[in-house]
Amino acid sequence: MESEELKQLVRKNDNDSRRLLFEAYYRKTYAVAYNILRSRENAEDITQDAFIKAFQNIPQLQDETKFGAWLAVIASNLARNYLKREKRIHYTDREVIADGASEADYTEESALRSLEVDRVRQAIKNLPPDHYQVVVLQYYYDLRVEEIASMLKVSSGTIKSRLHRARQRLARELELNHDPACHINKGGEQE
């Protein structure tokens, strides 16, 4: 969705606009909730609650073009709170990742790349909720550290720390031989 169209829809916030916003962000928001909760039913409920809260509080959104990220923050906060209430932590420190290499065709670069992406995908899923949240906001929604801090109402230092620990965790999960070469996104400090 183009930025200008997104701005118009968010500002309008009538039923038709909400419907278009819902259609544009439903899957992504559900994915965020599901990856934290690991329950289809709970993720569906949290996703609905996130949209309701977002539409009800839309005047609080300062930058309309960040609607998707804002929604992801609401959904992930709701999901994290739900887990806290339920005192259930879904992730494990060192979940074993299925190794599909034995069946893979190593001669194909694309297949190799696909396996790489899949391993990273699995590793991201195993992140604790607060780490997963900042990784999604930075790498999927392209938010700067300061923007994430503002949305989550924590300091930039906290975000940098979470991102650093998230990457360390990913690297460990992937058993990399050297430090991850990730960079803090625009406006942030390079590791």
């Binding site: 599901y34 290499a101 190593y106 995908r121």
Partner: protein, 273 residues
């Protein structure tokens, strides 16, 4: 040297690709269901209109078939029991749960019902409406009573937007049997059931006659009504249905396509004016 399927470097591009793939691959529940709940929460009035536009086609075939059955079937309840009798009115409700067992749909039936509302089946079901009408006209001996005429109600009463949190108002209708007053009706649709709620602004006697009329026009469970605690069981287009009366016979409700639990029924009837 790193393993062949292991990324050599965890770079931004790899993380973005992984997240993008993950968001694309997620199997989200039906968006329409979520949207209807969101809309109902944010704007209940508009949700009624939206539900009519978006959800009605899903149930159109079954609802149409149900109304046709009401209009065309000639198997008479009056041969079995008298719905308007005091005995029906005073049927004890304490055994309702036991008697409602007949209504409960087995798991395999639920699966079939769910399969039957898959998108691809909706189009087929819609096409089959005409076939159902033809079948009923051919196979059922039309009673002496004229069938109901059903039309959109131009001046509907204030129907509730949502019943029991899961039945959404679809359409206000007028039902007329050719003689006597019009009966006001509302059609509600839920995930797996359709509810027809009928009431009359006429006097009690006229409303009671509708109940009789309804009873004469639907295919019935052959057990005595007292045994069924006032619930009429029937079948429409292969789907289970249930009819009953409320408010001292002044209102009638028809639910088609299970499963409908006793708790749902009780909470629905508790909302009646």
């Amino acid at each position: 040297m790193p393993e062949k399927n292991k990324p050599e470097q965890l770079n931004d591009e790899l993380i973005r690709k992984a997240l993008d793939l993950d968001f694309q691959a997620v199997e989200a529940p039906p968006a329409e269901r979520s949207w209807r709940r969101i809309e109902a929460e944010l704007d209940p009035d508009r949700s009624r209109k939206q539900a009519r536009a978006a959800g009605w086609t899903r149930y159109a075939a079954v609802a149409a078939a149900a109304l046709l059955v009401i209009g065309l079937s000639s198997i008479g309840i009056m041969q079995i029991t008298d719905l308007a009798s005091p005995a029906a009115d005073e049927a004890p409700m304490i055994n309702a749960e036991r008697d409602m067992e007949a209504l409960h749909v087995e798991d395999e039936d639920v699966a079939v019902a769910e399969e039957e509302v898959e998108d691809e089946d909706i189009a087929v079901a819609e096409e089959e409406v005409d076939d159902v009408e033809t079948f009923l006209e051919e196979e059922v001996v039309v009673s002496d009573l004229p069938p109901f005429e059903i039309a959109t109600d131009p001046a509907p009463p204030e129907w509730q937007a949502v019943l029991n949190d899961n039945l959404f108002f679809e359409e206000a209708v007028l039902l007329n049997a050719g003689e006597g007053p019009d009966y006001k009706g509302a059609i509600y649709s839920g995930e797996e059931e359709v509810l027809l709620w009928v009431k009359s602004e006429a006097d009690r006697e006229a409303t009671a006659s509708f109940i009789e009329y309804l009873g004469e026009h639907i295919q019935l469970d052959t057990r005595p009504l007292q045994e069924l605690n006032g619930y009429i069981h029937f079948e429409v287009a292969g789907q289970p249905g249930l009819a009953w009366q409320e408010d001292n016979q002044n209102q009638a409700l028809v639910v088609i396509l299970g499963p409908v639990s006793l708790e749902q029924l009780e909470s629905i009837t508790a909302e009646l004016d």
